[in-house]
């Protein structure tokens, strides 16, 4: 199950970027053509986050659709069935995948440590 090492890589990257900050929510982007089973990622996530700053995090997965372009007739199309990449225009199999292979960490949600008391003035960031 490669989802284990992929989920582990995601969790390690988040800890690397966010340190010990407790994470409340993780949003991953997983393309329908990525070859990764979302339910497996969810299962692995529960196991891997134990004892880490992500232990209370909710996992959101955004599944991104597949798009491809035919090298033969240049038609761009949405891939309905990820198992078969055939051009709906001319039936050719020589297609270039434009989207749907994403395996990305989109964002995390953390406790807002920068909330100031209402009386405090905030200034726009310089630049």
């Amino acid at each position: 199950m490669h989802e284990l090492s992929i989920t582990q890589a995601a969790v390690e990257t988040i800890i690397e970027r966010m340190g010990a900050t407790p994470i409340r929510r993780v949003t991953l982007e997983i393309g329908v053509l990525s070859g990764v089973v979302v339910d497996s990622v969810r299962f692995c996530f529960e196991v891997i986050v134990a004892g880490t700053p992500l232990r209370d995090a909710v996992l959101d997965v955004v599944e991104t659709p597949g798009r491809a372009a035919c090298r033969d007739c240049t038609l761009e199309f949405v891939v309905e069935d990820p198992r078969i990449l055939l051009c709906p225009g001319c039936g050719d199999a020589d297609v270039r995948v434009l989207a749907g292979r994403e395996l990305r960490i989109k964002s995390v949600e953390v406790e807002n440590v920068c909330a100031r008391p209402a009386v405090a003035r905030t200034r726009p960031e310089p630049g």
């Binding site: 490669h2 964002s107 995390v108």
Partner: protein, 254 residues
């Protein structure tokens, strides 16, 4: 969403440095909410892919051609290597990295041919990754201008997603596995530069439609080369050797 002004995290145009502690979306009030979103926008496999590129550079500096061999268990990877080493080993130097969950059985078989071999045991892991290859390459220390065969863990699913830094991706399939496999395991066959159809000496005894296989393969990967062979009987091995010579720049296919 910010309850004060309605700005949304989903707008996707906020860049926040968690170290700086600023809002970073330029409006002048305090959020009553206690959570904030930090955009990371990072590929999950970035760490593996970076290591794979490092491996690629390391191999290129030494003019080493690395071949990633992937297949189901039992399709004939080790037998193919044994024969290739015996028949081609004099012509150009080669070494082998064996990936299995456990045991050194395959490494023992390769060592018996006189070829230098390193065994990587992945334990629970179902595929090799770029980090494992980096460590194996350093231990193996293959000579310049040689070929390194990487026999991946027998599995038609997981190795497809992991770039190791190899020069060539080779998928082996035997006629005992069924002609419909390219459609069932499209990710694996889609990544192949060359597909070896092995055990063709068994075609009279098994229900395997070669044309159906070729059609199924063309549907998932019309660009890969297909070589039909028998690693035990020797048929078609010359085409494989010719293809290898081409890949390492030793002249065209005979």
């Amino acid at each position: 969403m910010c309850a004060t002004c309605g700005c949304s995290d989903e707008a996707g145009t906020r860049v926040i440095d968690p170290e700086a502690g600023g809002h970073g979306h330029g409006h002048d009030h305090v959020h009553p909410e206690t959570k904030r979103t930090v955009l990371l926008e990072q590929d999950i496999l970035a760490a593996n892919d970076l290591l794979a590129e490092n491996n690629r550079g390391w191999l290129a500096e030494r003019a080493i051609h690395a071949v990633n061999l992937m297949s189901s268990p039992g399709s004939g990877k080790t037998t193919l290597l044994e024969r290739t080493i015996r028949e081609l080993g004099r012509e150009f130097p080669m070494t082998v990295i064996e990936g299995d969950q456990e045991t050194v059985f395959d490494a023992d078989r390769i060592r018996a041919t006189g070829c230098r071999v390193i065994q990587v045991n992945t334990g629970a892991g179902c595929h090799l990754d770029a980090d494992m290859l980096a460590k194996a390459l350093r231990t193996l220390d293959p000579p310049n201008r040689s070929t390194v065969f990487i026999e991946n863990v027998g599995n038609l699913v997981c190795p497809a997603l992991f770039d190791l830094g190899e020069g060539t991706r080779t998928v082996i399939m035997s006629v005992t596995e069924g002609a419909d496999k390219p459609g069932k395991y499209p990710h694996m066959f889609r990544t192949a530069d060359v597909v070896l159809l092995n055990k063709i000496d068994l075609l009279p005894y098994v229900d395997f439609d070669v044309d159906m296989f070729l059609t199924a393969l063309t549907q998932v990967n019309p660009r890969s080369r297909v070589l039909q062979m028998s690693a035990t009987g020797g048929e078609g091995m010359d085409d494989w050797y010719g293809w290898l010579r081409e890949r390492v720049g030793l002249g065209p296919t005979v």
